[in-house]
């Protein structure tokens, strides 16, 4: 994709974000933060590609996890760590947001 189309998407997304999020009431600001934490875990998409992609010609094995038949190049190791961090964001973020929002349910 060329730079201008990517930039277009970026600018439009910020605009949409602005419109949607200004309507979130202050009582939900904490769940908004933890929920957006979960969404910023979208980096997991990049992490999956770095961790799972095949090694290129000049890459060599940097680390072997004994017993698991896993051989990692430096790039794959970085990707693997990123998968862990991003998953903590996604799972931790959505779960803790759910836990908080449950408390805001009306008890009638």
């Amino acid at each position: 994709m060329d730079f201008v189309s990517i930039l277009t998407i970026f600018v439009l997304a910020i605009y949409v974000g602005w419109e949607v999020i200004t309507k979130v009431p202050p009582i939900l600001h904490t769940p908004l933060m933890s929920g957006s934490n979960a969404i910023s875990g979208i980096t997991i998409v990049g992490a999956l590609l770095s961790a799972g992609g095949a090694m290129v010609a000049n890459e060599h094995v940097f680390l072997t996890i004994p017993g698991l038949e896993i051989h990692l190049s430096l790039a794959k190791l970085l990707g693997f760590s990123a998968v862990i961090f991003a998953t903590i964001n996604v799972v931790g973020g959505f779960m803790v947001t759910h836990r908080m929002l449950e408390m805001f349910k009306r008890k009638d």
Partner: protein
């Protein structure tokens, strides 16, 4: 199974729409749970689409996801509601480091692969940006976590002479490193030097900020974690990363702006000015000198018995003393006797945006009893008893009266207009702004010294006995 790219891109589009619709759901507590679930579904779709797009090393991916999910699930279920600011700080940081790692891996691969040309200008700039923003976010968030948790770094602002010059220098070094990376990406170690310099900058930026300014810092780091994800989207030319990252970036900036307005301070003042160095003008003795009246839990109970409308003003002190459940007991007791009870919430009360609301919701206070500052202020004159629980600067009338005060112009909750104000506090010590609060010496104010939770529990017992 390898799906064609067009289908993958449509899956990413659906995920993006779910993220936007999910955030829209947060505009009301009734729709919020569904909104959050929609966001989760969007993430699941994005992950599955990515895995289906290429032949990937699934064993490694699953191992990573299992480890991450276990840690995330434990954190999410074990964390105390009072510790939510720490949790969000950590998650901000993890978002940042993930971007640093992904961009670093991408740089390594593209430089090592003899079959592809070197990354273009856009990609290299985006890689440098991911490393920089991610580094600042990760280390800044860790310091914020330390300050909130009370470990390793002090809660107070750490200041030294020439600190702004040091920060500017680090910024210039980062820019220079980014230029080197763009000119010659083959020296990949420069990327890690850049991430390292950004990390130092992140530490220095946050360590200079005091605990009570954390709502601003956390909101800002929240925004950075989104921008880091968006930058990584530019690296990979991936729409869903750019869209999701921008949404979070916008969210964090909006919250930052709301927090700054609620203190009548600019973002630059919070980040670089800070309250730590303000000299106290009026000393406590001049303001309080013999005019402070103190009361007891029993007297509070008597006052409450004859009241018709009671308003609580909670602050960070309520979180510290874990008083929210005792407050709930008092709320239920008063409501059962036909007394109207409300909670006045200042935007910066607590250590993160919305902190007080979450604590009170945890204690089963209905959310329609949580009233925003601007909505409750016009009716403060009709309040019989206002109970200030662990708040100080956000009820200091000096903000309205003294244009020279460090909190001049900060919107406050006008508790001084209530018929009686009870301030539950351990001592007369000043709040974060370091200035005395003339409210404590006002004619209609009574100080109730002690631990918030204990005092409220004692008043509840006294109320029960009296009936």
């Amino acid at each position: 199974m390898v799906l064609p790219q067009a289908i993958i891109n449509i899956a990413y589009l659906i995920a993006s729409i779910l993220f936007i619709a999910g955030l829209k759901g947060l505009s009301h507590p009734r729709t919020a749970i569904r909104g959050n679930l929609m966001g989760g579904l969007g993430m699941l779709i994005a992950i599955l689409a990515t895995v289906a797009a290429k032949k990937l090393d699934l064993e490694l991916i699953i191992l990573g996801i299992v480890i991450g999910s276990a840690i995330g699930a434990v954190l999410a279920t074990r964390i105390q509601m009072t510790a939510m600011p720490q949790m969000v700080a950590l998650l901000n940081g993890f978002g940042g480091i993930a971007s640093v790692l992904v961009a670093g891996a991408e740089l390594l691969k593209s430089v090592l692969n003899p079959e592809t040309p070197d990354p273009d200008l856009q990609t290299l700039v985006a890689i440098a940006a991911s490393g920089f923003i991610g580094g600042v976010t990760f280390w800044g968030s860790l310091v914020a976590f330390g300050k909130l948790q009370g470990v390793v770094v002090p809660d107070r602002p750490v200041r030294y002479s020439g600190e702004q010059i040091v920060k500017v220098l680090l910024l210039l070094i980062s820019i220079a490193l980014a230029v080197f990376i763009v000119l010659d990406p083959h020296d990949t170690y420069l990327y890690w030097v850049l991430a390292g310099v950004a990390s130092i900058l992140g530490v220095l930026l946050v360590i200079a900020i005091g605990g009570a300014d954390m709502p601003v810092v956390i909101a800002l780091l929240n925004s950075y974690s989104g921008l880091a994800a968006a930058a990584t989207g530019f690296v990979l030319s991936n729409n869903v990363l750019i869209i999701a990252g921008s949404l979070v970036g916008a969210s964090g900036i909006i919250l930052t702006d709301i927090m700054c307005r609620a203190m009548n301070r600019s973002l630059a003042n919070v980040l670089f000015g800070g309250f730590g160095e303000i000299v106290v003008t009026a000393s406590g003795d001049d303001v309080y000198g013999g005019k402070v009246k103190s009361t007891s839990a029993e007297e509070l109970a008597m006052l409450l018995e004859t009241a018709q409308r009671v308003v609580f003003v909670p602050g960070y002190g309520m979180a510290v003393s874990q008083a929210q459940h005792a407050v709930r007991d008092m709320f239920n007791l008063l409501e059962s006797r036909g007394i109207t009870v409300e909670f006045a919430i200042h935007p910066v009360a607590g250590r993160m945006p919305g902190h007080m609301n979450v604590l009170l919701a945890e204690a089963d206070i209905p959310y329609d009893k949580l009233i925003e500052m601007d909505d409750i202020n016009p009716t403060m004159g009709q309040v019989d008893v206002a109970i200030v629980l662990g708040a100080n600067d956000v009820v200091n009338p000096v903000a309205r009266t003294d244009p020279k005060s460090p909190i001049a112009g900060m919107p406050i909750i006008d508790v001084d207009r209530a018929k009686t104000v009870i301030i539950i506090k351990r001592s007369l010590s000043p709040g974060f702004a370091g200035i005395p609060n003339p409210l404590f010496a006002a004619d209609n104010a009574l100080m109730l010294f002690g631990d918030g939770k204990k005092v409220i529990q004692e008043s509840v017992s006294a109320l029960k006995e009296a009936s």
